[in-house]
Symmetry: C4
């Protein structure tokens, strides 16, 4: 399929899981993945850290013509990995088929709501 | 026209319609489309969901050398489709001619104003 | 010079000038332009509107190896054009040499500070 | 290595160091760099200003398969250069190998938290 929309490799440089905070909405971090193709996408996730080796035991699936939101504070979404709070890390998504990826963070640590978003770097 | 500015296909991964909230400014979601060409652009809009099939009955037009802001909470802009609140979805714009697309969200649910924006992914 | 950094054409889809507001910092909109080359860049600015023709009588210059911040509420920066408040418009920058362009908005209308930024679309 | 992820040249147009402010979290500016390769990346940093020549005496290193966060208010990260507060500048990163770069700012000057982020422009 020559006109699939998206790319297979994505990097999100600035990840950091905020604590949930005191507001009505809870602080969190999420990665949103769109699969515009007619077949499911299987994605290998790599986490990079400042002072230790990469973590690579996370795999995601996004169904054909679906969007999915993965939450970094959801241990099930992270395949059992517990993301530490307030710690710099980065993420790579390597998919077997084309996807589109956006990162979002909701920070609620000062009882006001602040957003932080970017599309991933893709190639 | 070989030097038209823009692309024909755009994807916005992270859409979510916030409730209007209590502030002076009302929470909303919008997609802003620029048409730099000398002819109108006709755009097919596809909505992706987490657990159901795509919705494809939305069509937009943007005049030659114009910018238009489409509001997701405006049922007329959505051609009769009612976007649910606080629900993850994604959007694809497929235009017959080159356009440039940005997504914006104003969140006012905690009586403070928070913004969320990105250019769409394009190819 | 084959390895100049940047592109000659940029579009910022979602422009809107907020009123200054009551906070310590004043609400504003700005376009930041970097010129990494050894010669000045001359830039033709086009404004797009929803319901009227483009405005094209704005010209900017950015010196060699300099960054400049243009303020949309500064009539001098806009070459005499008065940008209306709270009105949707878009902007194109067409430069004679490569530049890099980012858009920033500081919104202070609810006595809290909210930011909105994106790189321009470039090609 | 033909499938290295990233680019060698990045520009961040809109840099400005905010004062730390009065909130729990301190205002700051940072540049986050991911190195997905198996060898360290060596990066030459250039700072652009509005009215004076570039500053080029900053060099960064990011280890193989690591992410690093450089803080603009950390004189050590800036190799002894003191970034002035509330002053427009821009940044170029020129790496000997492929990297991915994101810019983030946390503004806390009005006792509420505001974020500002973008991937750098890359080529």
């Amino acid at each position: 399929m020559c006109n699939a929309v998206g790319k297979k490799v994505w990097i999100i440089p600035d990840c950091e899981l905020p604590e949930a905070g005191e507001g009505v909405m809870k602080g969190h971090e999420s990665v949103i993945v769109v699969n515009d193709r007619d077949t499911p996408a299987t994605i290998d996730v790599t986490l990079y850290f400042t002072d230790k080796d990469c973590y690579t035991d996370i795999k995601w699936t996004v169904g054909a013509k679906r969007v999915r939101c993965f939450r970094m504070n959801n241990v099930e979404d992270m395949c059992g990995f517990v993301v530490p709070y307030d710690t710099q890390y980065a993420m790579k998504l390597s998919s077997d088929t084309e996807i589109v990826v956006q990162y979002g963070r909701l920070d609620n640590r000062q009882v006001n709501l602040a957003y932080y978003t970017t599309l991933g770097y893709n190639q």
